[in-house]
């Protein structure tokens, strides 16, 4: 743990951003920027109970609703 700072390649050296330049130009590709053909959106349903055991899941009512393509459990 007593390495000589003069031998460091990255620690305490030039911190200039190089490969991330695109973020200052607004070209970051975040999840919200993804737009694929036929893309669906996820709605998260949290549990109604703080601590409970899941005995079964009945997604039939949700799947019957218009616009619901899939229920992932």
């Amino acid at each position: 743990m007593s390495a000589d700072p003069a031998t460091f390649r990255f620690v305490s050296t030039n911190r200039r951003v190089r490969e991330d330049r695109r973020f200052v130009a607004g070209q970051g590709h975040y999840v919200a920027d993804v737009a694929l053909e036929g893309m669906l959106h996820v709605a998260v349903l949290p549990s109604q109970h703080p601590a409970a055991r899941i005995l079964s899941i009945d997604a039939s009512e949700a799947l019957a609703m218009p616009g619901v393509h899939y229920v992932l459990t």
Binding site: V17, R21, F23, V24, A25, G28, Y30
Partner: protein
Amino acid sequence: MKVELRVNGVSRSADIEPRKTLLDALRENFLLNGAHAGCEHGVCGACTVLVDGEPVRSCLMFAVQADGYDITTIEGLAPAPGELSVIQDAFCETHGLQCGYCTPGMILSAHALLQRNVTPTREDIVEAISGNICRCTGYGQIVEAVQFAAERLRLANTPRPAGPAGKSIAEAK
């Protein structure tokens, strides 16, 4: 509703639903994804754009309200394709970003500050970016970036619009 929006110097006409926010219009209608949706209720500043040079929460503004104004997004700051403005480069130099989500808003707020204040103090900079939340950097290197950019713009004698609030370049010397 048909509107004519002047974005980054280019007039674009579009048919935009009146309740659509400027943020959504920029991202969906014009595919300018630099403005980010952070909180969508005007707190975080990730959606910041400049309207007539003033930083504005685009998530709190209707797109149709922007008809007739000059809108500047982060994509409009580059002096030429592939190049970076002085402020953008300063953020790279001081590592003023990590995930980059707050960065477009930060840069636009800094740009508006440096247009009106040629010699900002550290307090001026902190005040100017106080409406932009960053969860990654701890703000230190962001303030450094703005200080560095202010210095470089002064040394380059960059013309700034003379406004009532700031000092002109002649006074700053």
